[in-house]
Each structure stands twice: as C-alpha cells, then as structure tokens.
C-alpha cells in the first residue's frame, strides 16, 4: 500500500494539520518509506493470534457513576488562549 499526494492531503485534513502544497510530495515520499518498511509484518501469519490489549489480563477498574471532581471552571480555562466568563472562545462556528 502506498500513498500519493491526494492521500496525504486527505489524511492531513483528517488530522487537522495544514500541509503546504509543496510539502505534499516530499511527505508522501517519507510516509511511503515508513509504510514500505512496516510491510515486513506481512511475512507473519497472524490469523490465529488475538491482538494484544494489555500487558497482564486485567479488567478495567469500575467505580460508582457519580461526580467525584470538578467545580473549578477558572482553573479549567486558566491556560486557554481566549476565554470569556469561564467559557472557551473560538472563531464563529454557526452563522
């Protein structure tokens, strides 16, 4: 499997990462080199192998579905580039 400029543009869009036009071709080359290298995994028959999900078998811990934290909105927005009345401010989304 290899990627072309069109694919890089699509993936960059999915990743919300602006890639300038002139970087699309070099990036496709870099990604293809990595993808060609990982291709060696095809040598292995993994049909009867379960994918690894954790280092040791364990269940995710559970807890009561109750509020255990919160109530400090000023802290939550303390690092935001733009805020108003403890809300995050972003460019207009809805006209």
């Amino acid at each position: 499997m290899s990627v072309d400029e069109k694919t890089v543009r699509r993936v960059a869009r999915l990743a919300r990462l602006a890639i300038p036009e002139e970087r699309l071709a070099p990036m496709a080359g870099e990604l293809n080199a990595i993808l060609a290298w990982v291709e060696q995994l095809q040598e292995l028959d993994t049909s009867s192998v379960e994918p690894m999900t954790s280092v040791r078998p364990m269940r995710l811990p559970r807890r009561q579905d109750v509020v255990t934290d919160g109530g400090y909105p000023a802290d939550i927005v303390a690092n935001a580039p733009r805020t108003e009345d403890n809300f995050f401010v972003v460019p207009k989304v809805v006209e």
Partner: protein, 493 residues
C-alpha cells in the same frame, strides 16, 4: 562544594541523614552547576526559587530527624511531567506557556518523599526522537566527547536532558519516560543507569501522553541503587490511571544487594544483528562472562519475533500518538494561530505548533487508523505485539529469570546526524529496547564499558512483568563487575 555533586543519590541521602551537609548546601551547589552548564541545554526551565524553598523545608525536617526517603535531594524533572504552576511543554511550541493547575502523580509522590525540584529538563518533542534534536528548545548536549575531539554529541533521546543533567553531575537523578527506549537509550549513551519499570508500575496520570499503551516513567541515575531508591518513590497504584496496577511496591534497593548466584540469565540469539559494531558484541560477551563469574547460569534463548518489534512499534506508537495529540487544537491551552474559521484555526495551530517529526507521526498514525486500513495496520501490529510478548513468556516459563542484551546499537553520535539520517535510520536506535515496551516488561540499562573512542556503552537486562527486583539485582551485578567509573570531559566546571 562542587564535590558534593559527585556523590551518588544514595550517598547524598545518607550524608543528609547523618547531617554531614544540608539540603541547602546540596541544592545551592546543584543550582549553581545548572546555571554554569547552560551550554548543555539540559534544562528548558530552571526553578531556583522553588528549589531553595523545598531545600529549606527539607532541612527543617532533617534537623528534627524526620523526612521522606528522598528528603533534601535535588532532582530534575523531564518536561513531560505536569508540574503545578510551572511551565510544562513536552518541548513543543504548541504547549508554550502551559502552566498546569495540577501536579502529576509521580512528581507529587517525589515531593512527598522530600525531593527538591531544580527545574524542567529538555527532551525530544512529545518524546518522539532518539537524539533530543526534535526539541523546540534545540538539542541537549551530551557531556561526553570522543577522545580529544571537541565535536558535540547527542545525549540520546527522548529523555536527553535528563541524561545530560545527571551525567554532568548537575543533579542526583532525573525523571524520564520510555515509550520505545527513551530512558534506556539516553542512559546508555551517557554512562548512566536507567530503568523502565513494568507497564502499570508507575502512574501515567499528569504525564503528557505519547503512546498510552507503551508509555512508562522511570528514573535516570548514576547507580543501580540510586535507580532502585528513586523508582520506589515513583511507583505505586493510582486510581487516576486505569492502567496502574494495584500491587505492593517492594524495597527495590534491598533487592540490589542480593547475589545473582543461581539466577538463570537468558541470552537471545536474535539480538546479534548485522551492522552492529564489534565493540558492542564484545561488551555483550563480557557481560555474559561477568554474570557467569558472579554465579549465574547462562542459557541461550530464542525470541523469534524480535525483528518485527520495531516495525510494529511504528504502527502502534504513531496511531496512539495521533489520537492523543488531537487535543492540541488551540482551544484549551497553548498556542493558537489566528484564523477566520474553526477548522482553519485547528489546522494552522497544529501546523505551526508541532515540528516535522511529530507531524510525520501524526500523519502515519491517522493513516493507519483511517477507514479501511485499521485492521491491516493497527490490528495486525497488535497481533504481532502478542507474538513478541509470547516469545518472552515462553523464555520465562522455561525458567529464565532475566535476559541480557546490548542496550543500544551504537555509542552517542554527532549532533546534527538527524539532519542527514532518514527517519528509519533514526528509529533503529531503539532496536534493542523497543521489544520490552511492546511486551510491557521491565528493562534496565547499566553502564558497562567504553568504546575505543572513550564513549560509554550500556548493557540491558529484561525481566518478568513486575519483577523489577531481579532486573535490579542482575543490573547491580553487571555494575559491580564493570566497575564503571569514567566521567565525561565535556563539562567545564
């Protein structure tokens, strides 16, 4: 008083308890040394005021015969650990100015044990790199030099600042993290000890995430006993990390004092790799002989899926990174690029905020997780991971207690090597360490010798899950036999 800084962490601790010197003396010496060694670019932020306050509090406790296990000891903190009110950037422009309103579990535990914070340490951006050269703050520099050649070398990565600071005797230990080798590789190329504990041993809460199923924190220190002492304070169950394991934390330092007599040490034939310098193979042979002389039994083991670990890692790690790094969008923290609409703001912020290697990994990760490719890449890589883990399981089930391998495929290389190397050439630095992350096991790097050019090389010991004790014990045996006392020449102090 600079000589105080030559002490090991455990020596400094014992000296403080015996009141041979104060935390203020240690901390002042450390703060001064850090300021004098700015050429190393080991620190991205120095916190001398915090250090002075913490040292004074420690001295008050020590005077009363109180205090925690690391009371009064100056440490450095990798800039991946969130520190309350103190800038935390993961060495990325996108987190510039970020001051967490909370403290990571690990650093909170270290402060509770009495440790003194000297500042935040340089690293590869988001821990993605093996040379510290992807840092937004520029590379950290290895205090070691090749013979009389003054050319600057890299301290390894991603915990390059941690390694440079400890190797230059600026602090007694540093926190680090290891996703594919980022504790063990820098420790190895700077003549230090670094242990990556079992996945789940240390809480990941408040540590900026790279690849969540692989990330694990640990210490970089001068000696095995130091690593044991520091790891004990970093370890333990944390309900805030769902992958943290609820198990008692053993007295790791005590484990180091036990002889390796009767231990079975495995030597995996798959770690003999073409193109690795003869010096590294010779050091490995030496390590085998040392452990044999110390009474261990050496057995050959086979880990047949070793060669697939690195390619599988370069699917799993970028996939998880692309997901974890989605949060850096210019809304809640860090950098925001000006834009007219929301999508453009996301795209420009992220493009401006992260460097080329991080961008590459976000794209690879997004690609392998995208519709139609998930099974072919990510699921297949997770299956290969199961095979790698099974290799280790079988070796341990057959009665092997620990496995001895080289730590890195080369000694420290020159600054700017990254510019001419391909990404894959850089990825190969982790060839001996990455299997351990894929299987979630504990691994330690111990300094074992010097190259003909006078650069340090390390050996690695790998253990069963949650058996850091045997790893430290065998590591201590290698340390004792090697008698590594060389010091770097590249610090003018």
């Amino acid at each position: 008083m600079t000589d105080l800084l030559k002490l090991s962490l455990t020596e400094a601790r014992d000296g403080l308890r015996a009141k041979a010197f104060s935390s203020k003396e240690l901390t002042d010496a450390s703060v001064k040394a850090i300021a004098e060694a700015r050429d190393l670019n080991a620190y991205v932020l120095e916190t001398p005021e915090i250090a002075a306050e913490m040292a004074a509090a420690s001295d008050a406790k020590l005077a009363k015969g109180e205090g925690g296990a690391l009371e009064g000891i100056p440490l450095g903190i990798k800039d991946l650990f969130c520190t309350k009110g103190v800038q935390t950037t993961a060495a990325s422009k996108i987190l510039k100015g970020f001051k967490p309103v909370y403290e990571s579990t690990i650093t909170a535990q270290l402060w509770k044990a009495g440790a003194v914070m000297t500042g935040k340490l340089n690293m590869d951006e988001f821990a993605m790199g093996s040379s510290n050269e992807t840092s937004h703050f520029g590379p950290a520099v290895n205090p070691w030099r090749r013979g009389n050649d003054d050319a600057k070398l890299v301290p390894g990565g991603s915990s390059g600042g941690s390694a440079a600071a400890v190797a230059a005797d600026l602090v007694f230990g540093a926190t680090a993290t290891d996703t594919g080798g980022s504790i063990r590789q820098p420790a190895s190329v700077t003549g230090l000890v670094g242990i990556k504990p079992t996945y789940g041993r240390c809480s990941r809460w408040g540590v900026v995430a790279f690849a969540s199923s692989l990330d694990q924190a640990g210490p970089i220190t001068k000696t095995v006993a130091d690593s044991a002492a520091m790891l004990r304070e970093m370890s333990g169950f944390d309900p805030k990390d769902s992958t943290s394991v609820d198990m008692a934390v053993p007295d790791f330092e005590k484990a180091c004092t036990r002889s390796v007599k009767g231990l079975r040490i495995g030597v995996p034939k798959e770690y003999r790799i073409d193109g690795v310098p003869a010096e590294i193979d010779a050091l490995w042979e030496q390590g085998i002989a040392w452990l044999k002389d110390a009474g261990a039994e050496i057995v050959e083991v086979s880990l047949p899926h070793t060669k697939y670990a690195l390619p599988a890692y370069y699917i799993v790690a970028p996939a998880e990174a692309s997901s974890n790094l989605a949060r850096y969008d210019g809304v809640r923290y860090g950098l925001r690029a000006p834009a007219d609409d929301l999508t453009e703001m996301y795209e420009k912020t992220r493009a401006e905020g992260v460097g080329r290697e991080v961008q590459r990994r976000i794209l690879i990760g997004t690609y392998v997780l995208s519709a139609g490719y998930y099974d072919a890449y990510y699921i297949r890589a997770q299956k290969v991971r199961a095979l790698i883990k099974r290799d280790f399981d079988l070796a341990f089930e057959a009665g092997v207690d620990a496995i001895l391998t080289p730590a890195t495929p080369s000694a420290a290389f020159g600054l700017a090597a990254m510019a001419t190397a391909s990404p894959i050439e850089m990825y190969l630095n982790d060839i001996f360490t990455v299997t351990v992350n894929m299987a979630g096991l504990p691994g330690i790097a111990v300094p074992a010798g010097l190259t003909a050019e006078g650069l340090p090389l390390g050996l690695q010991l790998i253990g069963r899950a949650f058996d850091e004790e045997t790893v430290l014990r065998a590591g201590r045996a290698v340390e004792q036999a090697a008698g590594f006392t060389a010091k770097p020449a590249g610090v003018a102090r």
